[in-house]
């Protein structure tokens, strides 16, 4: 029973839903503020994302007549639950590497596919043609970006000789961060491109292109369900960079200066994402898939070759 209570605590409060959700909303403020500063504006107040989500909870929920109700309502919650579970796993293994199990990276990789799948399901269930177009693009983009990222993660597997996140972190605590190897720097660049597409940020926000297909899968969502999606996307902005830090950059720690150093690593990655987002136009879906299956996969293969050559 005590174990169950601890697991629930980890899932619901720290490092799961509550912590990651709050932190994610703060990060979405950072996102909007940095974008505003780049565009020479003042930007929103600090609590703006919290106001947005609270307001969405107070709005009316409309379910369109053409929607398949079960999928339309359940999909956002499945995405939110999967993201909370991801945050819990990555957080717990970062703080206590002994909680690892064999193949937990593979479980994390599978869980990371669930939020896009939830978006696709919700989009198709809403019965809106623009949402169907958006969901369709999301599927194609997912097929595009997963291949090079899996190759990059496999490079880490071969370098460390393990498929468990705890062992990868412990290896880095002994030998120093993996990023000091040239092969790992190449794999990290591949992962950064994956991150941009995974977080659906410009130039890869093709599935929810605002001026073109009106937020795609989210077009019919209103009120509380839209709020759930907003929180889910905010949490993904925390979880995915955190996973990359654990894989390549020595993980995070909560001891002494470790907190500051971990935060700096995270802010470096997220500000890089925001800068790329603010300085690029959106690409078409065929361009994106060609880019990921062509150049980025080539880069991932180069990383793997460099790793086998011993760099």
């Amino acid at each position: 029973m005590e174990n169950l209570a601890l697991y629930l605590l980890a899932f619901l409060i720290f490092p799961g839903f509550l912590f990651t959700g709050t932190f994610g909303l703060v990060v979405s403020w950072l996102d909007r503020k940095v974008s505003a500063l780049i565009q020479w504006r003042v930007g929103p107040p600090f609590f703006q994302p919290f106001y947005d989500v609270l307001k969405l909870w107070q709005k009316e929920l409309i379910i369109p007549r053409s929607a398949k109700e079960i999928g339309f309502i359940v999909a956002p919650f499945i995405g939110l639950a999967a993201t909370s579970l991801l945050a819990t796993m990555i957080g717990v293994i970062n703080l206590r590497p002994e909680y690892q199990f064999v193949g937990d990276v593979i479980v994390i990789l599978y869980l990371m596919i669930i939020p896009p799948l939830a978006i696709i399901w919700g989009g198709f269930s809403s019965g809106n043609p623009l949402a169907a177009v958006g969901a369709n693009r999301e599927i194609k983009l997912m097929m595009g970006y997963e291949l090079p990222f899996l190759l990059a993660v496999a490079t880490v597997f071969f370098k460390v000789g393990s498929v468990s996140l705890g062992e990868i972190i412990q290896y880095q605590q002994v030998h120093g961060a993996l990023l000091k190897h040239p092969s790992m720097i190449v794999a990290f660049i591949v992962s950064l491109l994956w991150l941009q597409a995974k977080l659906a940020e410009i130039p890869f926000d093709i599935s929810e292109a605002e001026c073109e297909i009106m937020e795609g899968p989210f077009i019919e969502y209103s009120g509380p369900l839209l709020g759930v999606y907003k929180v889910m996307m905010a949490m993904l902005h925390v979880v995915c960079p955190w996973f990359l830090i654990s894989l390549f950059w020595g993980g995070t720690s909560l001891q002494g200066w470790g907190i500051l150093w971990s935060l700096l690593k995270y802010i470096f990655i997220i500000v890089l994402v925001i800068l790329i987002k603010n300085t690029n136009p959106r690409v078409r879906i065929d361009q994106a898939v060609k880019f990921f299956w062509g150049w980025v996969t080539l880069l991932a293969l180069i990383a793997m070759a460099l790793m086998f050559l011993g760099y």
């Binding site: 909007r32 505003a36 565009q39 020479w40 504006r41 003042v42 930007g43 929103p44 107040p45 609590f47 703006q48 106001y51 947005d52 609270l54 307001k55 107070q58 709005k59 009316e60 929920l61 409309i62 605002e210 001026c211 009106m214 937020e215 989210f218 077009i219 019919e220 969502y221 209103s222 009120g223 839209l226």
Partner: protein, 144 residues
């Protein structure tokens, strides 16, 4: 509708822009609000692309017969509580299009046909300045 609280609505009004046959002058001034000089994101105002996400409908132009049913449809698609902001003289009182053969009526009259309790904000001017629009919206949101 009255049961839903509007406490946080004041802090983050998301805006959806509907053009109902205006001369495009008010639309240009609305876009000015989003530029760095006026920066409405300071008040949490954000332009959204789907009426399902909106809290405020910005309507510009006299309502022509052609667009009347569309405007009513868009109003029904917005989750309540919501505010309708009539931007410009045409939207408030039809302006120079009064008694014209192709115009169905001012925005408030058209929307009251589907919802008698709708909340309206009037920002007159031809076109209104961006400052006027921001002031009108902020004032209106303080009152609801």
């Amino acid at each position: 509708m009255a049961k839903l609280s509007t406490r946080w609505l004041k802090k983050s009004p998301w805006v959806y822009h509907v053009g109902t046959g205006g001369c495009n002058n008010c639309d240009i001034e609305i876009l000015d609000c989003l530029t760095p000089r006026f920066d409405v994101e300071r008040f949490g105002i954000k332009l959204v692309v789907s009426p399902r996400h909106a809290d405020v409908l910005l309507v510009s132009g006299p309502v022509t017969y052609h667009i009347k049913s569309r405007l009513q449809e868009v109003y029904k698609q917005v989750p309540k509580p919501c505010v309708v902001a009539c931007i410009g003289a045409c939207a408030c009182s039809m302006g120079i299009f009064k008694d014209a053969y192709s115009v169905a009526g001012p925005v408030d009259k058209v929307i009251r046909e589907v919802d008698p309790n709708a909340i309206f904000v009037y920002v007159p001017g031809c076109p209104p300045k961006p400052e006027t629009m921001i002031m009108g919206l902020v004032k209106a949101l303080q009152k609801i």
